[in-house]
């Protein structure tokens, strides 16, 4: 299949925006005094907009509405995932994109999978986790990797709610995953406190990743049950385990005993990676 001229234009535009954003982010992350409200990354040119409403359902968080015959973006709700632009749905090219300053740029880092985190250099919100465990040996027998993805599926999260969760988990002595973007913003690993300047920001989701000795798994589940009532969003949970030579998954029994449902579909690393990590049991 070949790209049409319009598709090329959208594609090249987006690539340029990503490159500009990476540069700006690196330049501006040190400047904590900039307001997150002074400039937004995605706007609608009211002169161009014809109020056709085609873009409205494409917004992942319902931030686009029509008023006075033109489309408006609720900048507080917009998580800058970029779907409105990439979809190419606007017939008059009314969406405008300008690089946003820190901390607003956090929204695209966590919500737009094509934006690489300047801290982790990995596109997307997470890390390699089980994908490379046969080589990295990251999830070892006796330990489990845990991920709490705030805002997923598709509800979005405030960074205040992310902080509520990191602060609830930190006292358990969890080891926050060093290569995860959220971990870069935790200023105190003992308390789970995040940088103050990001607390008014939002994202489509944010993954809190950590490792724990398997005996701490029940304490984590208890904290999560308590936090269900404390946060104003949803969160999706995931447990990563090295499967034992007899084929058993020790975390499963603990979870079952606690009445936690493990879904039938999962991610399976099939052990084809080399050089192979040598696990001890």
């Amino acid at each position: 299949m070949r790209l049409g001229a319009e598709q090329w234009r959208v594609f090249l535009h987006w690539k340029e925006v990503i490159n500009n954003r990476k540069t700006r982010y690196i330049e501006e992350t040190a400047d904590d005094n900039k307001s997150s409200k002074e400039e937004s990354v995605i706007k609608i040119d009211e002169e161009k907009c014809v109020g056709c409403e085609l873009c409205v359902p494409y917004c992942t968080v319902g931030a686009i509405s029509i008023s006075d015959g033109v489309a408006n973006i609720n900048q507080d709700d917009c998580v800058e995932c970029g779907v409105c632009i990439r979809s190419g749905i606007c017939p008059v090219d009314a969406f405008e994109e300008t690089p946003s300053p820190w901390p607003r740029s956090l929204r695209a880092i966590l919500s737009n999978p094509l934006v690489e985190s300047p801290d982790t250099r990995v596109p997307g919100r997470g890390t390699e986790e089980v994908k490379t465990n046969d080589v990295s040996g990251r999830a070892k027998p006796g330990f489990v990797g845990f991920a709490v993805e705030m805002g997923r599926p598709g509800v979005s999260t405030s960074m205040r709610d992310v902080q509520k969760m990191t602060m609830a988990l930190a006292p358990l002595g969890v080891g926050f995953e060093a290569e995860n973007p959220v971990t870069f913003w935790i200023t105190d690993k003992k308390t789970g406190k995040l940088r103050d300047d990001i607390l008014n920001e939002k994202s489509l989701s944010a993954i809190i990743e950590f490792g724990i000795p398997i005996e701490k798994l029940p304490s984590v589940i208890e904290v999560l049950r308590k936090m269900e009532k404390e946060v104003d969003t949803v969160f999706s949970c995931c447990v990563a385990s090295k499967v034992l030579p007899d084929g058993s998954i020790p975390a499963e029994k603990i979870l079952k005993d606690m009445g936690v449902t493990v879904r039938p579909n999962c991610k399976t690393n099939v052990g084809l990676g080399r050089p192979r990590f040598k696990f001890t049991y």
């Binding site: 319902g62 995932c81 579909n265 991610k267 399976t268």
Partner: protein, 210 residues
């Protein structure tokens, strides 16, 4: 963790939904150097064996950017994450058999129902090495879209597929203004990575409209 996890639906429906993912291990630099051509080989093999969507996090997918599979393979970088999705386990099995034979050393992940995947791996002499298991959705679940919509939107783990767009398409299909197949193609295009299952989407749209 993890954009191919947390897909929702019945076991019957999920039996036609198997994403595969690969990335070289960045913690071991020698495994990253030269990984690009190996990743390209994986995508070629997957496509040949019937993968219905294929993509690469740094370039996009065959739907998202209308990229040609050959073009994706020609430009795969050592550090990318490459993905595809199958609507049957047989294609995954054939792909893994070829990869096992080639022994390129690329870490490989299969997402989907653990029981049949585990059985298939045993048949071809591979192992369930490490698993990431979903514990579902917690918290204010009253904020979620309805189940029929979530079964579609959760196929893009980055949630680039808007629930409002799915609702609009369901409405349009019911009114005869759209078809499940056409709507599924548009929804698949919103996912950048190549893991959105167009065939299952059409099936779920049909079911939601019935």
């Amino acid at each position: 963790m993890t954009h191919t996890l947390h897909r929702q639906g019945t076991v019957e429906s999920l039996s036609r939904d198997y994403p595969m993912v690969t990335v070289a291990c960045h913690a071991v630099p020698e495994s990253v150097k030269g990984a690009g051509p190996k990743i390209a080989k994986f995508l070629e093999i997957a496509k040949k064996n019937g993968a219905i969507n294929v993509g690469d996090m740094k370039q996009g997918s065959i739907y998202f950017d209308n990229l040609d599979i050959n073009k994706i393979c020609d430009n795969v970088s050592d550090t990318t994450i490459a993905e595809c999705v199958f609507d049957n386990l047989e294609g995954v099995k054939k792909t893994l058999l070829e990869l096992k034979e080639l022994d390129m050393g690329l870490p490989m992940v299969v997402s989907g129902l653990l029981e049949p995947v585990s059985k298939m791996l045993k048949e071809i002499g591979l192992e369930v090495h490490t698993v990431a298991q979903s514990l579902g959705v917690w918290g204010k679940t009253e904020l979620l879209p309805r189940k029929e919509v979530l079964e579609i939107t959760t196929m893009c783990g980055h949630h680039m597929v808007s629930p409002r767009l799915v609702e609009k398409f369901i409405d349009d299909i019911k009114k005869g203004k759209n078809t499940p197949e056409k709507a599924a193609k548009v929804l698949t295009k919103q996912c950048c990575c190549g893991i959105f299952n167009e065939h299952r989407t059409a099936e779920l749209l049909r079911k939601a409209c019935s």
